[in-house]
């Protein structure tokens, strides 16, 4: 005898199987259902491990869960609304049902493994159903209607029954049948079959010239539309006639009832059993028209507690386990498929990109952006040199410009020139002092500079440039700011927003006015603190040139002297030779 929990689970499997069948068929045949946007909630329907997204609102109503589910796929010529129902043809009829056992219900010996096997076979059956839907002729029409933005002279609709009206003889003769192998359950066999037209060549599908363009303001496929909204009545009849028909099927209820959002039985739902057919009648009435499983499983008014619904058997050995809704807590139920459940929960967690990361990335980018000369400059010295500047020197000293230190060590002129250029491209950043110390490694050991007035003058010059960095980010004031004087700090903060522009402008300016190539006095127009250095540099240059000139002159004189000497020597030699001849 099957325990109540086994019966509950079987019932859930059957109910969800029928619902999944309905969903699979409609999503493969009805364009507006296929094209409906997926809800952004991130929840995935994991029943039978076939994720088709969510149905866009209430679809149909059905009777008891043991009643057959009959889905007619209709090909309807597009006409006026007043001619609804005329000319429609059933191109496919899908029937899914849990056929009860004849006589006494069969109870398998090994109940513990029976239900997992049932579930596994149901999964495979639904896979086959999905694949078969793509092989039948109606799929081609469905693809045409989905892909084309223009209306056709036919459209696909559907009708759901719990009792299959028989076909006429003529209709039946045109239909072929295919039945899937049944899947055994505790209550009966899950049977799925289809009757379909093998050829739809008689229906000449073409783009309809009769339809005038119209704007459907509440088109269900619009991103602005809520997917959970009830089916709008403003849509033409050919687009959707899920429930209205001349012969309402048994168990039919009008879809005009406003239905709440369709909720699926997930274990992480706050009230997972709210949808259950054995829940309170009040809840059931409130959810009328929302989903087919609402009306399946009317086994009576037996109210069972949630604790009874917990599985007595385990799916320990089976990773393929249904997402049974058994408890109110979001944690997985006492099933063996913990890894599956945990994975499912992980998958449903929405991803959020923390802003701090992006902020950090921008922050990380700012040093690079604020230091365009880094690639031009030699490798900075290790950070340990910066503490030497910041900690050992007083702020006042750091602000002064030490000319003599930089040059007295006998450093070459080029390192000084680089320092000058780097200073012109100075950015407000903690790396500046470190950069300067690195530069001075070739000559001056420690260099400090003034950032007060000169910087602002340069900033004003740079503001004239039209360069704008698209990703300019304000510099970040780090802990090294304590080395700066308060007034300098204020200046830096106020001008930080122009730092990017200033940096690139400085680069351009530096390239244009390369100090080693220009010996005019234009450089002296810069800050007064730098004038001394500039003039000193030019004098050094001129001294070297004058030395060279002097040397050249000296060489010339020597050459002349030697030439003159050589001339005198030749004359002397000649005179001596003459004397010898005379003697002879």
């Amino acid at each position: 005898m099957a325990s109540p929990s086994e019966a509950d689970r079987t019932e859930q499997i059957v109910v969800h199987f029928l619902h999944k069948t309905l969903h699979t068929v409609l999503a493969s045949r009805i364009p507006h259902i296929r094209l409906a946007p997926r809800p952004s909630s991130g929840k995935r329907d994991r029943w039978f491990n076939l994720d088709l997204g969510d149905l866009p609102g209430p679809i149909a109503q059905h009777g008891a869960f043991m009643d057959p589910l009959v889905i007619d796929v209709l090909l309807t010529p597009r006409r006026d609304a007043s001619e609804s129902g005329a000319g429609e043809v059933v191109v496919e009829r899908w029937i899914a049902q849990c056929v009860p056992w004849h006589g006494a219900p069969q109870h398998p010996h090994d109940v513990g493994s029976f239900q997992p096997r049932t579930y596994k076979k149901s999964v495979i059956l639904l896979r086959s159903l999905y694949a078969l839907l793509r092989l039948l002729p109606a799929h081609r029409i469905f693809r045409m209607l989905c892909s084309s933005g223009q209306p056709y002279n036919y459209d696909l609709g559907y009708r759901v029954y719990s009792f299959a009206p028989p076909f006429s003889r003529a209709e039946g003769a045109d239909l072929k049948q295919y039945s899937f192998s049944p899947v055994e359950t505790l209550f009966g066999q899950l049977v799925v079959s289809v009757q379909y037209r093998p050829s739809l060549a008689a229906f000449n599908l073409e783009i309809s010239p009769l339809m005038s363009p119209m704007i459907i303001t509440d088109y269900i496929g619009s991103p602005a539309a809520e997917p959970s909204r009830p089916f709008p009545s403003s849509l033409p009849n050919w687009a959707s006639r899920p429930t209205t028909s001349q012969n309402p099927p048994r168990g039919f209820r009008p879809s005009a009832v406003v239905a709440p959002q369709f909720d699926r039985p997930h274990s992480w739902n706050a009230a997972p059993m709210a949808h259950h057919p054995l829940s309170s009648p009040h809840d059931r009435v409130a959810k009328v028209g929302s989903s087919p499983p609402e009306h399946y499983g009317r086994l009576g008014s037996n109210q069972r507690s949630l604790s009874d619904r917990k599985a007595n058997f385990k799916f320990d050995d089976f990773r393929l386990s249904p997402p049974f809704s058994t408890s109110t807590s979001p944690s997985p139920p006492t099933l063996g498929g913990h890894s599956l459940q945990s994975r499912l929960q992980m998958e449903t967690a929405p991803m959020s990109i923390p802003m701090s990361a992006t902020g950090k990335s921008q922050m990380h980018r700012s040093p690079n952006l604020s230091d365009p000369f880094k690639s031009l400059l030699p490798r900075p010295s290790p950070r340990s040199t910066r503490p030497d500047l910041s900690s050992q020197e007083s702020p006042s000293k750091s602000r002064s410009f030490r000319k003599t230190e930089g040059l007295s060590s006998g450093g070459d002129i080029y390192s000084n020139l680089h320092m000058y250029a780097a200073y012109k491209g100075l950015k407000d950043g903690p790396d500046d002092s470190g950069r300067f110390s690195a530069l001075s490694s070739g000559g001056s050991p420690r260099y400090a500079f003034s950032r007060s007035s000169s910087r602002f003058s340069m900033q004003d010059d740079l503001d004239d440039t039209d360069f704008s960095y698209p990703f300019a980010v304000d510099d970040v004031d780090t802990s090294d700011s304590h080395t700066r004087s308060p007034d300098v700090k204020d200046a830096e903060y106020s001008s930080s927003h122009k730092s990017q522009k200033a940096a690139v402008g400085m680069l351009v300016h530096m390239l244009k006015t390369a100090p080693p190539l220009r010996q005019d006095q234009s450089c002296s127009s810069q800050s007064s603190d730098l004038n001394g250095e500039v003039s000193l540099n030019t004098s050094v240059l001129s001294r070297k040139t004058s030395d060279a000139l002097e040397e050249l002159q000296a060489y010339k004189e020597m050459k002349n002297f030697l030439l003159s000497e050589s001339g005198a020597m030749t004359k002397l030699q000649e005179s001596l030779q003459q004397k010898k001849r005379d003697k002879e």
Partner: protein, 218 residues
């Protein structure tokens, strides 16, 4: 556990068509055996008016493409030959520890044989050219399109065949032991370029011995 073997109807086509045929068949079979959470992906065939389903697993897609490339390379060297591709599903079980250490053994529980006859497009057209030299262009294009239509119809039949096989026999499928999309390890065997036909059959025999009952091996 028994090994179910399914022989699919032979399909005849040119290499480009066979490539598409193999994609269609291999993905369809694996879709029925990938019992993990799947968001199915409909794929329209480029050469045929057919839609088949993929699991959406990148590793699987990559492996299938590799095997198809391997097969086509073999076909280029062995034109106009009948060949088979075998898609097998197996279980890995640890053998009893022996002197040589722990060995794992594969127990094949299902094998799908895709039978193909790949035509060499050059020899095919030459043959037809010699017969009707005057209107070769029209004949070859008409025959090509009719052959393709026939191939499409056969492919559809084979897909139906796969669905029928999948539904007829389900009891031999082992329990699912993981939460991956591809629930069971699988193997795609193609005739290797270096192997002769004998060598390939020897490989099949070896596999059959592995899947046999222990009594057979003793």
């Amino acid at each position: 556990m028994n090994c179910e073997t399914f022989q699919l109807k032979e399909l005849v086509g040119e290499p480009l068509e066979i490539r598409e045929v193999l994609r269609c068949l291999l993905h369809t079979i694996v879709f029925h055996r990938a019992l993990g959470l799947v968001r199915p992906k409909d794929v329209e065939c480029e050469l045929f008016e057919l839609t088949y389903v993929q699991c959406g697993d990148h590793e699987l897609d990559k492996k299938i493409e590799e095997k198809i490339d391997q097969f086509i390379a073999w076909v280029d060297k062995h034109p106009n030959k009948k060949s088979q591709i075998c898609l097998s599903f197996y279980e890995v079980k640890n053998k009893h520890p022996s002197w040589f250490g722990n060995k794992t053994e594969r127990f094949y529980w299902e094998q799908w044989y895709i039978n193909l006859h790949v035509l060499n497009p050059k020899s095919h057209t030459k043959r037809h050219n010699s017969k009707a030299p005057l209107s070769t262009g029209e004949n070859t294009s008409e025959e090509g399109s009719s052959r393709r239509t026939a191939l499409e119809s056969s492919l559809r039949e084979v897909l139906f065949q796969i669905i029928s096989f999948v539904n007829e026999k389900k009891d031999h499928i082992p329990p699912v032991q993981n939460s991956e999309i591809i629930s069971f390890p699988y193997e795609i065997s193609t005739p290797s370029a270096s192997d002769s036909s004998f060598g390939w059959h020897a490989d099949v025999l070896k596999r059959m011995l592995q899947t046999g009952h222990p009594s057979m091996l003793s």
